[in-house]
Assembly symmetry: C2
Homo-oligomer: 177 residues x 2
């Protein structure tokens, strides 16, 4: 399992959100006895794009560039992990009492990070086994050439203008003329 | 500068897309004499979410969870980097001849990766200095409690139902009843 200092190296700095994401992702991987996704064996559905999601990426291997990090813009620090081999899903959130405990303590930023990293798992992480539909695999799509700029584009992202293939940025430029 | 094998460790496997993203990001960082973003000093605008973007995240520190990775779903392997200290932007793409060179060679996957990693930079990376509006900083938003599930939610993501604050997943459940 990758360490918190290694996750900090990836994120760029240490912060309470990253520490929280570290504890939540570690709990998920431990629950599944899963090391790290080389490809799409594990899928993460994240409900915000805040600091903690960098811990999700770094620890679990569910990354923005691999198609196994699904973003649902709900503004919630909730991560759902789907294990393709066992076909099982878990929803990772924080117990309702967690927030009170954290605010009651009146901690500095550094103290908060230390507390998040050291408190027992059941105080800080809630794991629920849930049933979800298996997420689709990332598709490898064909590439075409934009006949306006000559650059390559994924075929599902082009428009057509005057019978010619056009990429979105060229299309936007044409419309702003 | 982080190495290609380290980027592979982050992405989970080696592939031509990651190698390409590695060369493009390295060229951008070298151009700016920039090491890596601890916070939001550097911003990357990526025009697809394919493998190469994991090299962008890993090398540049412009990550999904830090607010300095902006995704425009154009299906293009084009990365724009904005340096907040110099206020300069560069657009990184691949020269038009690159595609022909790559297909002409009829290489295996491994040979293709080796070629991408070893070819001279001007054959594989096109750098254009461009002018863009400075990207906004990520905002730290307040958190509220969903009165249906009791979980915390970013205030800009809630709805209201019967005068109560409701998060998107609870709202969707209510509408499916």
């Amino acid at each position: 399992m990758r360490t918190y200092p290694e996750a900090v190296q990836f994120h760029g700095h240490s912060c309470p959100g990253l520490a929280m994401g570290y504890r939540m992702t570690k709990a998920a991987l431990d629950h599944f006895s899963f090391e790290r996704a080389e490809d799409e064996e594990l899928v993460a559905i994240v409900e915000n794009d805040a600091c903690g999601t960098d811990a999700v990426q770094f620890l679990s291997g569910c990354t923005f560039g691999k198609g196994n990090l699904i973003f649902k813009d709900h503004g919630k620090m909730v991560y759902t992990f789907y294990n393709r081999s066992s076909k099982k899903a878990i929803r990772i959130s924080r117990p309702a009492e967690f927030r009170e405990k954290l605010t009651d303590r009146d901690l500095s930023r550094e103290e908060m990070i230390d507390w998040i990293l050291s408190v027992s798992e059941n105080e800080i992480v809630k794991i629920e086994e849930i049933t979800i539909q298996e997420p689709k695999f990332a598709r490898i799509l064909k590439t075409v050439i934009c006949e306006f700029c000559g650059e390559t584009v994924t075929e599902t992202r082009v428009h057509e203008l005057d019978g010619k293939v056009i990429c979105i940025p060229c299309f936007l430029k044409q419309n702003n003329k």
